[in-house]
């Protein structure tokens, strides 16, 4: 803002005990306006002035910007005990000023005085972590109760909903699982051929593909895909149901949201995840087979023979077992984040994001734990 313009917009003239602010020119929102603080400094100090008047005869246009400026002048006047004469302002301007001052600021609404220092934020962070832990524990407890109900045969499954979820999480995930699994198979085979070639051991590519895909990559990649696809969808669905009071409607009908929403989703994933992993294993191995036969000139027989030596049935079972565990983790993180969702569109987005992050983190962590236990037991 250049000072010439400021002079154009405002000028303070002292007449005896009163100070007249002469406003002129264009005070629209698009134009830059003088800061009140810089104008204030040009006011004469001390008790020499007792009132402030306005002269708006030269004013061309004005918008809210002028009003906020005037409010600052009025506040300044109140602070210093000066009389501020607004009667020379146009009627509509006076009316707006009065309207804005009519309802006093509500002071005990409990939002204003939030502290922004390090300690208050640390404290709030601690409390939110604690609340999250309580939420998780409660949710887990409710899920556990529902599982007990299921085991004791008192759970009433809505089969229609269940099969829709099965289709949504299982069959509809096949294209993306095919693509990713095939690529992972190709990549593992490439990686193997490049590194093993240095030792003249390309023949072991099939070992690497079979062992890597069956034990690790098949389950992990499927888990990541399903966490991104289905976990996010669960969180967004449930979050939206919370915003539209659909969850409340269930509760007040005496229907537990965990029974009604979480259980079918969790059971669907427990069933579909191992099947998807099985499928991903198959496609991944086909990917490795393609690389070995087309690029490395092995025969299909050689590849399968190598596989047969490298892996045993337990390797394959471990992959499926991981898939089942990942399914439970994805369902729990998706549903939990959905249930924790706040009451806005923003919150639904956050719930979906955090469902994916939680899901993938848990999958990787669980994978490490399972591998570790398997290593201890020599499986």
């Amino acid at each position: 803002m250049d000072s010439q313009e400021q002079i154009k917009l405002i000028e303070s003239v002292r007449e005896g005990n009163t100070l007249t602010l002469r406003l002129s020119g264009d005070w629209s929102l698009r134009e830059s306006k003088p800061e009140f603080n810089t104008i204030k400094d040009t006011f004469p100090e001390g008790k020499s002035i007792q009132g402030i008047k306005f002269d708006v005869s030269q004013l061309v246009t004005w918008e809210s910007g002028l009003l906020t400026f005037l409010l600052k002048v009025i506040d300044y006047g109140k602070e210093r005990g000066l009389e501020v004469y607004v009667d020379s302002l146009p009627d509509n301007m006076q009316r707006l000023l009065r309207l804005s001052q009519e309802v006093p600021e509500k002071e005990d609404v409990g939002k204003r005085n939030e502290e922004h220092g390090f300690l208050p934020r640390l404290g709030k962070w601690g409390i939110s972590i604690y609340d999250g832990g309580v939420d998780f524990t409660r949710f887990f407890g409710e899920v556990f109760l529902s599982v007990l109900k299921l085991l004791s045969g008192r759970y009433h499954m809505r089969w229609g909903d269940f099969f829709v979820i099965i289709q949504e999480t299982g069959a509809k995930a096949l294209p993306i699982v095919s693509l990713i699994a095939l690529l992972i198979g190709l990549i593992v085979a490439f990686l193997g051929s490049v590194t093993l070639a240095r030792f003249g051991a390309e023949i072991y590519v099939s070992y690497l593909v079979a062992y890597g895909i069956l034990r690790e990559m098949g389950a992990i990649m499927t888990g990541v895909i399903v966490a991104g696809r289905t976990g996010a969808a669960f969180a967004a669905q449930i979050g939206t149901m919370k915003v539209t009071e659909e969850i409340d409607a269930l509760k007040t009908m005496g229907i537990s949201p965990v029974d009604f929403i979480v259980m079918p989703r969790m059971l669907a994933l427990i069933i579909m995840m191992p099947l998807l992993v099985l499928y991903a294993d198959l496609i991944g191995i086909i990917g490795g087979l393609l690389v070995s036969t087309l690029l490395l000139d092995f025969s299909v027989y050689q590849f399968l023979e190598g596989m047969n030596e490298a892996v045993a049935l337990p390797d394959f079972y471990i992959g499926l077992f991981k898939g089942t565990i990942f399914g439970i983790l994805i369902a729990i993180s998706g549903c939990l984040r959905g249930m924790q969702c706040g009451n806005s569109a923003d919150a639904v987005g956050l719930a979906a994001t955090s469902a994916v992050v939680t899901g993938i983190t848990l999958i990787i962590f669980a994978n490490a734990v399972i591998d570790w236990i398997a290593a201890i037991h020599g499986i």
């Binding site: 609404v109 409990g110 009433h156 809505r158 669905q237 939206t240 149901m241 539209t244 009071e245 659909e246 409340d248 409607a249 269930l250 509760k251 007040t252 009908m253 005496g254 229907i255």
Partner: protein, 255 residues
């Protein structure tokens, strides 16, 4: 219905409502008789809907108790609470229909969960309930395919599915045109008269308040407590305080 005269259907005793440390309402005391239409009124943001959420068990009060048929609801264990909840019908502000289900499935769900009716019997009841709210023929529609007013009426059909003893309405006329809003009022009166249900309505629509209210309480946002109780027409004639007179006369200044 046995204790229709002696015992209030709903009784609220010295209840405080709060979100965390922010107290919304203090010291609420009122009772609702069997078959009565009770209006909870007050300005926007004064805590009407919060009170409703307490009454239907979505939030626990920080102090005080709610009794249904003389039995404490707040201190009941989970199973008892669920059983009490099953005698309620709640119409939410925007209907809160389950969006993944058709209207028929929405209304049928409580029947499937809590009755041993066959599916053909359920279908008959569902289409009867939908016809009561003027939505016969819309069974196969999803909530997203119908208008806001229709969604509200469908929500009412769902709330009535199990012939509830108490019906709760959260701002039934919000977002409805005057005629639909009037029709909904008539519907509420008819339901009360024919089913004998007790009705609790949260609203600030003056026309509805005067048309359907047998009894009412006024929540005052400034003093954060209820400042009046009684028939709304009586309260209008003899207002016990300035705020309620101001509210019921749509902000007329005293003369």
């Amino acid at each position: 219905m046995m204790n229709a005269i002696s015992q209030p259907k709903i009784e609220v005793r010295g209840m405080d409502l709060a979100y965390g440390s922010f107290v919304v309402m203090r010291d609420l005391k009122f009772s609702v008789k069997q078959g009565e239409i009770m209006i909870i009124m007050g300005g926007s943001g004064c805590g009407k809907s919060t009170l409703l959420k307490h009454l239907i068990g979505l939030i626990d009060p920080v102090r005080g108790d709610i009794l249904y048929d003389g039995v404490s609801f707040v201190n009941a264990d989970l199973d008892k609470k669920q059983n009490t909840l099953r005698t309620f019908g709640v119409l939410y502000q925007a209907g809160a229909l389950w969006s993944s289900m058709t209207l028929e499935e929405n209304v049928a769900l409580p029947l499937e969960e809590y009755t041993k009716l066959s599916s053909s019997e359920i279908r008959e009841i569902v289409s009867f309930k939908l016809s009561l709210v003027g939505l016969k023929g819309f069974e196969a529609f999803y909530p997203s395919e119908i208008s806001g007013g229709m969604r509200k009426r469908a929500g009412l059909a769902r709330a009535m599915a199990l012939d509830p003893e108490i019906l709760f309405f959260d701002e039934p006329s919000a977002g409805l045109d005057p005629i639909s809003s009037r029709r909904l009022d008539d519907l509420i009166l008819q339901l009360r008269d024919s089913l004998g249900s007790t009705v609790v309505v949260v609203t600030h629509e003056l026309a509805s308040i005067f048309a359907i209210g047998d009894n009412s309480i006024f929540l005052d946002g400034e003093s954060r407590t209820m400042t009046a109780m009684g028939n709304p027409n009586e309260l209008f004639k003899n207002p016990p305080n300035e705020n309620i007179r101001y509210f019921l006369s749509r902000g007329e200044k005293a003369n």
